[in-house]
Structure formats: structure tokens, C-alpha cells
Amino acid sequence: MSLLDRVRALLGDEAVEVAATPDGVPRVAPASPDAVALLLGTAREEGWRVRIEGAGTWLPADAPADLALTTRRLDKIPAIEPQDLSATAEAGIGCDLLRQQLADRGTWLALDPPGLAGRTLGSIIATATAGPLRQGFGPVRDHLLGVTFVTGDGRLVHSGGRVVKNVAGYDLTRLEAGAFGAFGVIVLIHLRLRALPRADQTLALEGSREDLTQVAEDIAAAGIQPAAHELMSPALARRERWLLAVRFAGSAALVAAEEAGLRAATGGRFAPLRADEGHSLWMRAAESFATRPVAFRVGGLPDSSDELLDLLQHQVGDEWISASPAIGAIRWGGEATIDRLKRLRRTLAGLEVPLTLERAPWPVRSAVGHFGAYREGVGPLVAGLRRTFDPGEAFVVAAEGAE
């Protein structure tokens, strides 16, 4: 019996996509968490190598595997609870659809990840790719109340729950966020929501990088607390020069007060954008990272932001950059060779700054790894966790690169 016949027998004809993937790997789309567990249990028995896919808009669907498991049919939203500001969604739901349904109920998931609008929720969580709103609302993990995931040998594991505080058991939810699928396929997510902001205003200032870096420092020193505060390279912002974009979101009184504070701290240099202009700016910047072959993030300290930007400019160029100087986070997009990426990671490690490879073609991912240059003792822990959650090494995930 062929692999596809076996899958059809297990999950039914509708689970197997007729259209082949570009590299000819059969694609299977289970319609429930239990079906994912059944499939992976069989994969463990048969020794199949499995790559995990969402909508296929972020990580290229190019990892060598016996089959591709896509979450795209796990696209239900079982619950949105406006009074509790929580929701439960399956991993394959597109973020554009989720965002719309949340907005219809007056709620908001305060994440603006890089990538196309239809990127799946599971992809965003598995890669922990937060966007500029991480400044005001935290990284991806802070938006999660719980997850259900399936291990490499087909076990369904539940972690956390749907309440906003929960310390029952170890926090496997945080472990899954940003593990790039190395510890399991996320199938269901409980989300922490916020009320849809009553006011949402973006202001922007163009200038040289040096000038805008100083302005960003002035803003932080003045105690202004934007939802997002992003320094964008000219190509990313589609402007002549660098752009510093500041976004305030919340009650009308809060946004008005923050805008007034910004004017006072910067001499009124920022221009307010219309709602559609602001939306377009953030959306285009997010989508731009999906158009470049490589994207990575580095997490430094606020006082090292400028130095890190210099380093990136020197080693890999600075055409596509989005940086949150107030929290030291930088996302880079573009083209870079394996050697350059490895060298950059080593250099950054010397500065105690991790580099996480977010997106790249398989040859680059497998050579560089999403992670690397671990601190003392971390490597054996990560290896132990991988053995625990994927004892048969079913998942094709380039967690670490080749030495």
C-alpha cells in the first residue's frame, strides 16, 4: 500500500490534496486535531518524515519530506468570548479571517506579524514572529492562554487553558511558541484578547537614521508609551529616507494625551497619518518581509540598537529593516548567504544577542538553523526536549544548522 493509500485509508479521500506540492511531496490536510494525531502516530510507525505547513505564505514549502502536513483545514474558531476577552481558534485559521471575526465582536488580537494577511495563526505562534506591536503588547507568548499540540509520535498534549491566569503544570505553551514545530504541531490555541481600541493613530517622521535614532531616544526618555514605535528602512517604508512611525492605540483620552506628549517631546515634527494611510503603512511593511527570501530577528538591548543596525548594515546590508529601538528588537529581510548569516550569528552571540532565522529557503535553513550559538548548557536541553516530543525524528525542522 502506498503512502497516500495508507493516508486515505486513515483519514479519508478528502484529507489528501490532489494538487501536488511544487517538489512533489504529497500534501495531507487533516480536518481535526484527532486526525493530526492519527496521522503522526502512523508516521512514527512507518518512519515517515513530515514537514509542517500552514498556508504556505511564510516558510517555503521546500523541506525534504515523505509528506507535508498542512493545517489549512483546521480553520475553525470554536469560541470568541468578548466578556472574557478570550478566544479559541484552530491553528490553520488565516489571520485576516480571525481578525475580522474578532473585530465583529469588538475584540482585538494585538499582534501584527510579518507576512501576508492570510498567514495562519499556527505559523505565527510556531515561529513567534511578532511585529511592531510587540513594543506595547509584548511578544507572541504573552497573547497565549493555552495550546493543544500533537507530538511527533501522535500524542495530543494540552497545555494551559482558556483563563487569563494559569500556573497549573509546566508552561508548555511558552515552549511551543517559537519552537518552529520542533516539539509538535500546534492544532488549537486559546488566545488573550483586548478590546478593539477606540482610537488608533499613527504618526510618522522621515529623516536620516541618525536623526531618527535620536528622536526615538527622546520619545523613550519622555515616558511616552506607544503601542508601536518602529524605525523602518527607506525600502521597507517606501519613502526616500528612513521613517520613524509611532502608533498609539487605546481610549480616545489616552491616544490624545500620548499625541500631545509626542508633540511636546519632538517639537511637533511628526505628521499624523489618516487611518487608511496608517493601516497601509503597517500592512505593507509586514507584507514586505514575505517578499524577501530571508528574514531574521535579533533581540538586543535598547542602548545597543544603533550599534546593531551598524553591524547589520556592515555585514548584510540594511535595505529591509524594521527596528523597535525602545526594546532593542530588529527584523531584517533580504538576501544573504549561508556564510554571512553564520558569521553574523557568531558576531552577535559575542554581544549576547540571539539571532533567530525566521524565513529562508531550505538549503539556508538547514545550514544556518533557526537557532544556534546556544549559551552554556542550552544545547543538551533542546536536544532532550526534541527527543521527548519527537522520538522518531518525524518532524523535518531545521532547529539548529549544520556545523
Binding site: E81, P82, Q83, D84, L85, G106, D142, T151, R155, L156, V157, G161, R162, V163, V164, K165, N166, V167, A168, G169, Y170, D171, L172, R174, A177, A179, F183, R194, A195, P197, G223, Q225, S251, A252, A253, L254, A257, E258, G261, G299, L301, P302, D303, I327, V353, P354, T356, F371, G372, Y374, R375, E376, G377, V378, L381, G384, L385, T388, F389, E400
Partner: protein, 500 residues
């Protein structure tokens, strides 16, 4: 002290000094409980290292001997989590109480685990910064303990629990190896092992250095006290506030029993004695005008949803008084009876009115006094049962009522602990929340950090309820070199290192 622990004591004394090894029964008994009176374990030996290096040396020694040990902070926990049995060593970390760095520019601090929570905010205040997790025990509890339990507090509604604020950790694993998790900027080196470690209740090792995020002290604050003539109405008002789109810094509820206890104590805050419940709401931020406007909105919401009156604290003194009553409520309840069980559970906020009524019914059925003081904005309940443990049969009734309260919270879609942890106290409820595979996954993860289950053994995961997990190594490894290691601990450590 168990007789076979005697040879160990001399070696421990060589590491930390004889004064800091406690072996006499009266001394060890003082560590037999935490803040929860229903669990008691007398540790075999108590050791109080004074530095990171001493902690690592002690852990390496115990690793070489294959001995179980339990890390402990100030012992203010409320789950029976930091208790050690007679065959185990209790490592008390309160002497590691140095704030190693405050980096105002990058808004972070590096501390030893024994630093008392409130001390960090005091030290950061001259920089206009604070450490926001504020458990009620913050004047006594340690940041290491907060990390182990993923502690919360009233202001976590807006600012998040401990896990939100821990950036990096240095950890001594069960065998004494030292690992560095996270980075000062908060981005992990690979998977989020800091997130996994926080809240692991000491099962994964001993945090020896902790890097935390500091936040600006709010420039504007409004504190409101709303009183209600029914508990249900107060619960409904909580949902209305949350749905308003304004996130208060804190939203706390106290019921009538709690109000009376506070008002009868030295912490009397002026809460209306005839109220069925009060809500203490705080709004804060960087801008006076914005906070004032948001406070107006919340006042209107509270009044529209049944508040009899809403008091706005006129000044910092009145605000402090209102908060002192809340923060010392647990202490005030000590007046109600000899013993107090502080329970901890979380429910979806919209279910608060129903759950509070059910808890009142359970209390009546069991003939117990249950007082509620809790983080209403998070749905994090603290039903507190006052009783006299000397009364025959009463402890069993308290246990049965607690179990029924937990079952009620789970049935409402909630969980069995929001900030106190599982410890010993809630082991039996874990199978109500997690299936065998999920529990086994937790146990398997624990084995990655501590294959022999020597660090804080018998806590968090009920072993009997775990399904079999491939690759799981059960039980402690045989340890033929243990006796010689007592005589020469360094040789045992060297042997282990070589074996690895």
C-alpha cells in the same frame, strides 16, 4: 535528622560554614510548613548557602550523592511547594539577597534569588522604575520564589505575571551543571526555556541569577472603591469593566466576611461594613488627563452596573490606606480563627457571579466560613476557609469543601491555580484538568532537566496519573559511589563529570 544524613552534614558545613547548616529538630521544624497550614514535612537537613558558588557546590554534592533536595525562598508559598521530606535537603536561598545590577537605560535588573520582592522596586524607584509583579506577600517573598511559582499580584491585571517580566536566568541543574537561559533583551536562544522554567516550582533546578524587566512608575494614578449590595452584582460589574476596553492596573474584590475582618483589624481601611462586596479598582498611566478620563469612564460603568457608591481616593495617603486593607486582608483573616486555608483558582470572568454563588452554597453546606478576597479582573479567586484544625473532623471537611470548590471552577472552564502553584496541595486535582498524555508530557519534560526527579520530588505532576511515555526513565539511578562521595565530595563530582 535521619541517621544516614549525618555524614553529609560535615561536608555541607565545609561548603557553607557550620552556622548555616541546621540539623537540630527544633530548627528543622521551623521549615516544616509554608504559608499553607495543611501540609507539614520536616526536612532532613536545612542548608543556607550564602553565594551562587555555594549553591552550585551544594547542588553538585547532592547530585553526586543522588540525594533529593528542595529549593526554598522565604517560605511564603501557599501550595505546600517548598517542603522537603526527611530524606531530603532543604536549600534555603534567603541569604542570596543581593541586587547585582540596575540598568536604568535598558530598564532591567539582575538579582539573586533571595532578594525580597518589594526591595527591588524600592531600589529601582530613584530611577523612576519599578518591578511590577506584586504578590500580597511582597514584603517577605523572594524573587526566586516568585520565579518558581510564576507569582502574580493585584497589578498583574495590566502588567502581567512574573513570566512576563523575567528576561534571563542562570540555573543550577539537578547535577550542578550551570545553564544560561534567555538574554537580557528577552529574546531566547532557541526555544523559550525561560518561559518553561518560570512556574516549574523548583522541579527544573535552582535559579541562581535572575534578570528581570523594570517598568516606569506610573505618573498618574486613580484608585476607586465601589461597594455593592450583592456579590452577584459585583461580579457582573467586573465583566462590564473588562468589556469596557479600559484595562485597569488592578481590579480586586473583597466580600463581606473579608471586609469585616479588615475593618476589625489594625488595617481598617474605611470599607463600608454593610456592603456585600467592594471592588477596588486602580487606573494608572503616564498622563494625568488620560487616567482621569479613564477613571471617569470606569466610575460610570461601575455605577451603571449596580455600584451603590464609588469613592475616589483623594490623595496618596487614602490610596495607600485602601490598598493596605487589601494587601493585609489575609493577615486580618487570621483573627477569624486559628487556621486559614488560602485557596486559589481561576474562572472565566463572565462566570464570576455564578461561581461566587456556588462557593457560598458549598460553604453553607459544609458549615464553614469562606471569605473571598481576590483578583477579580483576572477571574483569579481566593476563597479562604477559616477553621480551627484542632476540632475533630474539621480538616476533612475543609479538604472536601476545597475539592468541591476546585471542581466548580474547572466545570466553569477555569483552572485550579492562578498564582500559588500545584505543590503538594493540588496534585490530586491535576488529573481533573489534564489527561494522562498531557501529564506524561510534563513528566517527560521534567526528566530532560532532572532525569532522577531529585529536585523538589513529588510535586506538580501526579506520577500515578501519567500515561506511559516513550523514552521515560523511571526511578533514581543506582548510586554505588554515594558513601565515598560523602567523605570526598569533589572526587564524586569529578567522577560524574568524567562519566558525562
Amino acid at each position: 535528622m535521619a541517621r544516614d544524613l549525618a555524614p553529609l552534614v560535615d561536608t555541607l558545613a565545609e561548603i557553607v560554614g557550620p552556622r548555616h547548616v541546621r540539623t537540630a529538630l527544633p530548627e528543622r521544624v521551623t521549615y516544616a510548613k509554608d504559608g499553607l497550614p495543611t501540609h507539614r514535612r520536616v526536612p532532613g537537613v536545612v542548608v543556607l548557602p550564602g553565594s551562587r558558588d555555594e549553591v552550585i557546590a551544594v547542588v553538585r554534592l547532592l547530585g553526586a550523592l543522588g540525594m533529593p533536595f528542595v529549593p526554598r525562598g522565604a517560605g511564603t508559598g501557599l501550595s505546600g511547594g517548598a517542603l522537603a521530606d526527611g530524606d531530603a535537603v532543604l536549600i534555603v536561598l534567603t541569604r542570596l539577597n543581593r541586587i547585582l545590577k540596575i540598568d536604568a537605560r535598558n530598564r532591567l535588573a539582575v538579582v539573586e534569588p533571595g532578594v525580597v520582592n518589594v526591595r527591588l522596586s524600592v531600589a529601582a524607584a530613584p530611577h523612576g522604575l519599578q518591578y511590577t509583579p506584586d504578590p500580597s506577600s511582597q514584603t517577605a517573598c523572594t524573587i526566586g520564589g516568585n520565579v518558581a511559582e510564576n507569582a502574580g499580584g493585584p497589578h498583574c491585571l495590566k502588567y502581567g505575571v512574573t513570566a512576563t517580566h523575567v528576561l534571563a536566568l542562570e540555573v543550577a541543574l539537578a547535577d550542578g551543571r550551570v545553564v544560561e537561559l534567555g538574554s537580557p533583551g528577552g529574546e531566547p536562544w532557541g526555544p523559550d526555556l525561560v518561559g518553561l522554567f518560570v512556574g516549574s516550582e523548583g522541579n527544573f533546578g535552582v535559579a541562581t541569577r535572575i534578570t528581570v524587566r523594570l517598568l516606569p512608575v506610573a505618573r498618574a494614578v486613580r484608585t476607586l472603591l465601589a461597594d455593592f449590595t450583592s456579590l452577584r452584582t459585583a461580579g457582573e460589574a467586573v465583566s462590564a469593566v473588562i468589556a469596557s476596553g479600559i484595562v485597569p492596573a488592578a481590579l480586586e474584590m473583597m466580600d463581606q466576611s473579608c471586609i469585616q475582618a479588615v475593618e476589625d483589624s489594625v488595617y481598617a481601611a474605611g470599607y463600608p461594613r454593610d456592603a456585600a462586596a467592594v471592588l477596588l479598582a486602580e487606573l494608572d498611566g503616564a498622563h494625568e488627563a488620560a487616567v482621569a478620563a479613564d477613571a471617569e469612564t470606569i466610575q460610570a460603568v461601575l455605577r451603571a452596573h449596580g455600584a451603590r457608591s464609588v469613592l475616589v481616593a483623594a490623595d496618596a495617603q487614602q490610596r495607600e490606606k485602601l490598598w493596605l486593607g487589601r494587601k493585609k486582608a489575609f493577615g486580618a483573616m487570621g483573627r477569624l480563627s486559628r487556621d486559614l486555608v488560602v485557596q486559589d483558582a481561576v474562572v472565566p470572568r463572565s462566570t464570576l457571579p455564578d461561581v461566587l454563588e456556588t462557593i457560598a452554597r458549598i460553604a453553607a453546606e459544609y458549615g464553614l466560613t469562606v471569605s473571598n478576597v481576590f483578583h477579580a479582573g483576572d477571574g483569579n479567586l481566593h476563597p479562604n476557609i477559616s477553621f480551627d484544625g484542632r476540632t475533630p473532623g474539621l480538616r476533612e471537611r475543609v479538604e472536601a469543601a476545597s475539592a468541591e470548590i476546585m471542581a466548580t471552577c474547572i466545570a466553569a472552564g477555569g483552572t485550579i491555580t492562578g498564582e500559588h502553584g500545584i505543590g503538594l496541595d493540588k496534585l490530586r486535582y491535576m488529573p481533573l484538568l489534564f489527561d494522562g498524555d498531557s501529564l506524561a508530557a510534563m513528566r517527560a519534560v521534567r526528566h530532560v532537566w532532572d532525569p532522577e526527579e531529585r529536585v523538589n520530588p513529588g510535586k506538580v505532576v501526579p506520577v500515578h496519573a501519567c500515561r506511559e511515555w516513550s523514552g521515560l526513565r523511571m526511578g533514581r539511578a543506582p548510586n554505588p559511589g554515594a558513601q565515598s562521595a560523602i567523605r570526598n565530595p569533589q572526587s564524586a563530582i569529578d567522577r560524574k563529570a568524567t562519566a558525562r
